[in-house]
Amino acid sequence: MKPIFKHLLVALSLCIPLLSHAALDPALLQPLAGDDPDARVAAVARIAATGGADARQVLQALLDDALVAAPSGQVLIVRDDRAVDAATGSAAAVPDGADGIVVNNRLRGAAQAALSGLALLAPEPDTRRAAVGALRTQDADPAQAPLLRQALARETDADIRTQLAQLLARADLGSSDPVRRKAAVVALADSGDASQRPQLQALLAQNPDGTYAEPDAALRAAAGTALRAIDGRVTRNEIVGNLFYGVSLGSVLLLAALGLAITFGLMGIINMAHGELLMIGAYTTYVCQSLFRHYLPGATDWYLAAALPAAFCVAFAVGVALERSVIRWLYGRPLETLLATWGISLMLMQAVRTVFGAQNVEVANPAWMSGGVTVLGSLVLPYNRIAIIAFAAIVVAAVWLVLNRTRLGLFVRAVMQNRRMADCVGVPTGRIDMMTFGLGSGIAGLGGVALSQLGNVGPDLGQSYIVDSFMVVVLGGVGQLAGTVLGALGLGEINKFLEPLAGAVMAKILILVFIIVFIQRRPQGLFALKGRSVE
């Protein structure tokens, strides 16, 4: 198949300047209906060389077994019982005795190669992009170089240009002209694309007799430099990727732990049901999604807009109910609070299991969240992770504003610092407790919405985050928003950088050990409260 392809491409590139939109010459088509295999392949090449849309249609029809030859020599394209003349494109009747043109493998290969070459010159950018993508998956072929050079000259889209330039460089590596080879090596070094590594490596390979595959020593040196440049880029991409995923994990931990930073950090309540509040937020998202699918199928992508306030409100309500019914009787008895809230968590989990079933439910990302942005050549950053990082930042900012810039926040801090004094000056401490716990729970609900976008939503969702959340709060220092943020991001980064070294499970174990040791050294966390309130 290779030689055919080569000939075709050469023929094609020679004819590019002659591209015209005139109808095909029927004489070009006739050999296709003939019996001579060589003539048929040559005909394909000549048709492709015209380079127009007609040529593509004919070749595609050939591949689809839709070409029919009439006894008169006329060639027709028959699709869905409607026939058009292949040469002129006008409608025509199928004459009696018309026979389908038989396509063997050789002809099919020739037509395919011709088509993908033609696609590089197609007017639609998407077609060209697809053609470039297809060529990237194939081995480099020096015969492609002239065509690629032409295509590059005509190309207007910057992205496709870059890819074409890389393809061209790859093809030029096999060129007989040392100048071209050298230019190719330099171009590849600039691209930093790891997929080009094998080609460069091949240049440095030694033949069995000790001579190098590449005779030019300077070129070999250039290739070595290029290899190092590529390796450097790969390492840098890995580091940037780890940083990004670390921040992403950190923001997930932060969203999971932020509510706890309020209920545990500010109020001192050991809320073991915190994970279940996350779960409630995630299930609220699921319910919103189902409602949107059922009642507003056109706006399904916007279910998150409803899920966020809904999750906050539901979790807020559950939190307030818990505080009023159970937790407020246990203030000052942290260990008992721990047990009671664990009981609550068991009941909430079982309740969700009863209502929604024990299986995970499916929460789909909205369409605008799927996919990702490519940076630094090959690093893909998924949109849903970026969205969650942004969301975490917004939530932290909102919590900070509420705590530091509102009357409620003022009261919350007052009650935290000195309950009796706050009571004396007229702060309704009971109601503030309720609101604070509700706020922490509501934020957990928001965290649940974020978690539903990343992983499975099931009754056990909260259990997997509860230990992590406590670790973040304890590490950051109780009662410190900044500490929680730093603790979460730090844990996320450490985790992601340890994972490739030690494996996911060992990374987790190492982190737990690290936290245990850390707390031995600094029992008050990263940011210790100073002053008389410290125990």
């Binding site: 159970v326 068991l346 079982q350």
Partner: protein, 373 residues
């Protein structure tokens, strides 16, 4: 209370003797009476009671640190599981070549394509060595962990959370196949112990009686400790650690002693548990299991020693019944139990009894409780 007074009042001694006798009577009823007899105790029931006694021993150990020293551990499941694993190593070696692959190695190692035992499995074919491990490994883990934690004066909720993280980390570790303890399947399919078939009635009854003896022995030991001067200091740690330090005591040694002792007792419970239940896997280390132990203590009444034993029996009896009768409702019931007990029964079952007795016309004044709120 002077130091020469007996461990228990005469009535309590009688009660203890009666309970022990009743427990001894169960296997007798199992062996002596035919299946059809109404008083016959089935092998299943006997196994259940044996299992509950292991739980009770663990609860007793937990009460020693929580009830008397005020250290709430959410990681005692780890010590229980370590004891179980240490004994399980011997039981795995005792399978010999009777595994499904007919190899000298346990099935899971054959499955992982290991050719020899890892170094930490050496000598585990000796029963005495494994028994030593049962005591030493959890004891050492507890000692090292406790030394670090108590030295930096981590207490209260922080300590609880760290113990939870500890058992969670170990659970993850033991879930790994590479750790060499059977991954998530753990150890199972035991055949024999000290040459006796593990499923034979005689073996099971011997294990049952051994568990009973150790439980009663541990109860007496704990009672002796909490009544001694040492026990007074421990309660001082619980009630007013700062004051105790000002008087001139260093709480570190006291805490460390009781913490390590408690871990060892818990490990012994685990070691007795594994041959009776026939399986141990990393889920024993899950934080939920440790918290359940705390509930036994809370429900029975912490700081009473007898209470946790009652609590372990009550909760697990309830669990066995519920999971058979209403499997969906068990978690609701357990959760509700947690909440009600913490809200309304601060002293657990044993705290309710005196209140009831006071209501009865012929009731006496309740015995003095040595526990402060």
């Amino acid at each position: 209370m002077n130091r020469t007074s007996p461990l228990f009042s005469r009535g309590a001694w009688a009660m203890l003797a009666a309970c022990t006798l009743a427990a001894v009577l169960l296997p007798v009823l199992h062996l002596a009476l035919p299946d059809s007899h109404p008083l016959h105790v089935s092998g299943y029931a006997l196994g259940l009671v044996g299992k509950f006694m292991c739980y009770a021993l663990a609860a007793l150990a937990l009460d020693l640190v929580w009830g008397y020293t005020g250290i709430l551990s959410l990681g005692h499941g780890l010590f229980f599981a370590l004891g179980a694993y240490a004994h399980g190593m011997y039981l795995m070696r005792a399978i010999g070549r009777d595994g499904s692959y007919g190899s000298a190695l346990p099935d899971f190692m054959v499955f992982l394509d290991w050719k020899a035992y890892p170094w930490y499995w050496s000598f585990t074919e000796h029963f005495w060595y494994c028994m030593l491990l049962v005591v030493l490994v959890p004891g050492l883990v507890a000692f090292v962990f406790g030394w670090f934690a108590f030295r930096s004066r981590i207490k209260g909720v922080y300590f609880s959370i760290i113990t939870q993280a500890m058992t969670y980390a170990c659970m993850l570790l033991f879930f790994r196949n590479d750790t060499g303890f059977g991954g998530n399947n753990g150890f199972t399919d035991f055949r024999r112990i000290l040459g006796h078939s593990i499923s034979a009635p005689a073996t099971r009854i011997a294990l049952y009686l051994l568990t009973l003896a150790l439980l009663v022995g541990a109860l007496l030991l704990c009672r002796a400790i909490v009544r001694s001067k040492l026990g007074r200091v421990l309660q001082g740690v619980r009630d007013a650690e700062a004051r105790l330090m000002f008087i001139g005591y260093d709480p570190l040694a006291f805490k460390l002693f009781v913490w390590t002792l408690s871990a060892v007792l818990c490990a012994i419970a685990g070691a007795l548990y594994v041959p009776q239940v026939g399986i141990v896997n990393p889920s024993e280390m899950s934080p939920a299991n440790s918290i359940e132990m705390v509930v036994w203590v809370a429900i029975g009444g912490r700081g009473t020693l007898v209470g946790p034993i009652l609590g372990a029996f009550a909760v697990n009896g309830l669990k066995s019944w519920f999971t058979a009768a209403f499997p969906d409702l068990w978690l609701f019931a357990l959760g509700l139990l947690f909440i009600l007990v913490t809200l309304f029964m601060r002293h657990g079952i044993l705290g309710v009894l005196p209140a009831i007795r006071r209501l009865l016309p012929f009731g006496r004044a309740p015995a003095t409780r040595e526990e402060a709120a």
